[in-house]
């Protein structure tokens, strides 16, 4: 039985992300006793590696890569399982001067073809020469990219000879890794993260956002192919010699309480999740574990990765208050992969702070119209005005700046909703091998346009929604184009017949809508098509949607002939789209009462 790594180093002094490269940080952490622990689906310790062991194995692997003649700067696709092998390969690449490209796992029933297509486009766009994945996934990699120089399991690479292989680690001004967390399958966009960007971001997170202290311990089930998992719960803790306890994402999805049990058992002080993770735990409840779970040491319960929803977090705090969980531990944040990970953090030890606004005014004003008029919560004037709360995501990290701009790129004053733009050392140099996509999200004066909407109050950011078309359901990022293309490939459907978007319903939940121009006249045939569309969407992205069948020529297009999802969505919200087979639609009683979302 392994024993878990310690939370503190006995003699190594604590340095929070003061390093110029990942290799410098890992070399330093390797002098202590902290490290990474991996747990089984039921929360038993499976493997424990100190940072010294991770470093030594990464160095040995790097020598194998160079001995095998892999050119410096080559890209290496890594299936990002939550496993010791992933860390060893990620850091092995750093010592060998190779650029790791974490690629995702998938959980969609029957999603084989969509998954292979996704891998193919990611590996192809990165120009990877090498792909590494666990044995049971090699067939996907081979099908996606059979022509690569080397495809194998971790063991295949450990078997290569090491003798005489050089180390040629990246310097501070060089590359670090490619992060795929934005972009559709059809047009994947890999964020090219430099050593400067990752170490700057880790410094902001560690020194400012979390104010890490010696003895802190991180706990994570976040996937390592997402920025929050990789940067927040792998690279930043490593650069600060913090021990991490890992639970695989699937294990969390199946048994969310295992996450909390690990925090309790090992004394985790820092853990993050998108809102839906807290929701999952609150829904399952304590399940009789109240006496055995102690969450009183959990000092930072971060929220990021999607819109922060205060009602869900309140529910979590109520459910788990009995375990000693303090709602003051909640730490809202805002960030995106294009800025490595983090941009803003709320203040520590304050919990969730919300800005209450006038719902009606917000709904009826344009993007940059003055909002919000403060609603007097004591109902002093006009008691019936509906209020809506947005969570305040805090101020930018030191050396980073956030502004809210109009469509014309003018800076907006407080309480005016507009485009959120970011500047600072964590911002990527660009998407890998994609200058056009990079230019499209860069303002004329060189700021990163995040694609999100929000407003400022006293230097603090409030995020209100996304301007870009991305759909996020249960933490899954779904690109409407992927859904539209999959549906358009069906029989009886033509190209440009489909529009996919999401709406926020009054309960705060996001729901995906697929509007389809239907040319079938037979009622039963239409219902059959509806079923096929829903099944295709599920196989493509693992999510449910509401399918709306409309007559031809209903969808709206821009003057340049591009589908205008925002115009179709506006028609949907206003009730102008009615289903051809109204009697057969299942959920009409719940439609459409939306609290949002102008685009």
């Amino acid at each position: 039985m392994p024993s878990a790594t310690a939370s503190t180093n006995s003699s190594l002094s604590f340095r929070i992300a003061e390093f110029e490269t990942l290799v410098d940080g890992l070399d330093y952490a390797a002098s202590g006793e902290t490290g990474c622990n991996f747990f089984t689906p039921r929360g038993e310790l499976q493997a424990a590696l100190t940072y010294r062991e991770i470093r030594d194995r990464a160095v040995a692997l790097a020598q194998r890569f160079t001995r095998a003649g892999v050119e410096r700067g080559s890209r290496v696709a890594l299936v990002a399982e939550t496993s010791p092998d992933f860390l060893i390969f990620f850091f092995g690449c750093q010592y060998a001067g190779l650029i790791p490209v974490p690629v995702p796992l998938t959980i969609h029933l029957g999603g084989h073809d969509a998954y292979v297509e996704r891998l193919r486009s990611m590996i192809g766009k990165a120009g990877a020469q090498i792909a590494v994945g666990p044995a049971e996934m090699l067939h996907y990699l081979k099908e996606a990219a059979g022509g690569l120089k080397m495809i194998g399991t971790p063991a295949d690479f450990y078997d290569l000879p090491a003798e005489g292989g050089d180390l040629r680690p990246f310097a501070g001004h060089e590359a670090c890794y490619i992060q795929y967390s934005s972009g559709s399958t059809s047009l994947p966009r890999g964020v090219f993260v430099s050593q400067r960007a990752i170490t700057s971001n880790a410094r902001g997170i560690g020194q400012h956002g979390l104010a890490l202290r010696s003895g802190d311990r991180a706990t994570s089930w976040l996937p390592l192919y997402h920025d929050m998992g990789l940067v927040g719960f792998c690279l930043t803790p490593m650069l600060s010699q913090i021990t991490i306890d890992y639970l695989a994402t699937k294990s969390f999805a199946l048994r969310p309480l295992t996450w909390l049990k690990l925090i309790s058992q090992y004394g985790g002080t820092i853990s993050f999740s998108p809102t839906f993770g807290y929701d999952l735990c609150a829904t399952r409840g304590l399940n009789g574990s109240a006496k055995t779970i102690d969450l009183s040491r959990w000092r930072v319960a971060g929220i990021g990765g999607e819109m922060v929803r205060s009602e869900t977090l309140d529910r979590f705090a109520q459910t788990f208050g009995v375990t000693g969980f303090s709602p003051k531990a909640f730490l809202p944040s805002y960030g995106l992969a294009e800025s490595t990970l983090a941009v803003t953090f709320a203040s520590l030890d304050k919990g969730i702070e919300v800005d209450r606004i006038d719902q009606e005014h917000y709904t009826h004003t344009g993007n940059v119209a003055p909002v919000p008029i403060k609603v007097n919560s004591k109902k002093a004037n006009g008691a019936n005005r509906a209020a809506r709360s947005f969570v305040i995501c805090g101020a930018p990290m030191p050396d980073h700046e956030v502004e809210v701009r109009s469509e014309k790129n003018d800076r907006l004053t407080d309480h005016h909703v507009g485009r959120i733009v970011v500047r600072g050392p964590s911002v990527m140099d660009g998407y890998y091998n994609d200058p056009a996509a990079t230019a499209a999200i860069t303002t004329p004066d060189g700021w990163l346009d995040t694609g999100d909407l929000g407003y400022m109050i006293d230097g603090r950011l409030v995020v209100t929604g996304r301007r870009k078309d991305l759909v996020i359901l249960n933490g899954l990022n779904i690109w409407p184009q992927d859904v539209e293309w999959a549906v358009e490939a069906l029989e009886d459907v033509r190209g440009s017949d489909v529009a996919c978007f999401s709406v926020i319903e009054t309960d705060g939940n996001e729901r995906m809508i697929v509007v389809l121009q239907c040319r079938l006249h037979d009622v039963a045939a239409r219902e059959n098509l509806r079923k096929r569309v829903a099944a295709t969407v599920r196989r493509t992205c693992g999510a449910d949607c509401r399918v709306v069948l409309v007559p031809p020529k209903t969808l709206k297009f821009t003057s340049s002939g591009k589908l205008s999802r925002s115009a179709v969505k506006a028609d949907y919200i206003s009730g102008e789209l009615s289903d051809l087979n109204l009697a057969f639609t299942e959920h009409d009683d719940s439609a459409p009462a939306y609290s949002e979302q102008r685009s």
Binding site: H108, Y115, K250, L254
Partner: protein, 83 residues
């Protein structure tokens, strides 16, 4: 206990009941996505039920190749045979 293919199928069909509120007839060819409307959240819940019932671990890397009930039963049998 020794699990036969028929017995595994019978158990999996039982575990599928909560995911089949309309009570459609389930056969080996039933498509979990198309016929039972299982999204990824439902799939995760089903995987948990199956893991607990058979005391096995189902690697998620197998799920993309699971379309029908038969595919799912085959996965369970394969994992059972690994002990």
């Amino acid at each position: 206990m020794q699990w036969t293919a028929d017995k595994v199928q019978e158990e999996v069909v039982k575990l599928l009941r909560p995911f089949n509120p309309k009570g459609i007839e389930i056969t080996s060819d039933t498509d979990l996505s198309a016929d039972l409307f299982m999204d990824s959240v439902a799939a995760m819940n089903l995987v948990m039920e199956i893991e607990d019932r058979f005391e096995i671990d189902i690697p998620i890397s197998l799920l993309p190749d699971v379309n029908s009930l038969q595919d799912l039963v085959d996965v369970v049998l394969a994992q059972l045979s690994k002990g």
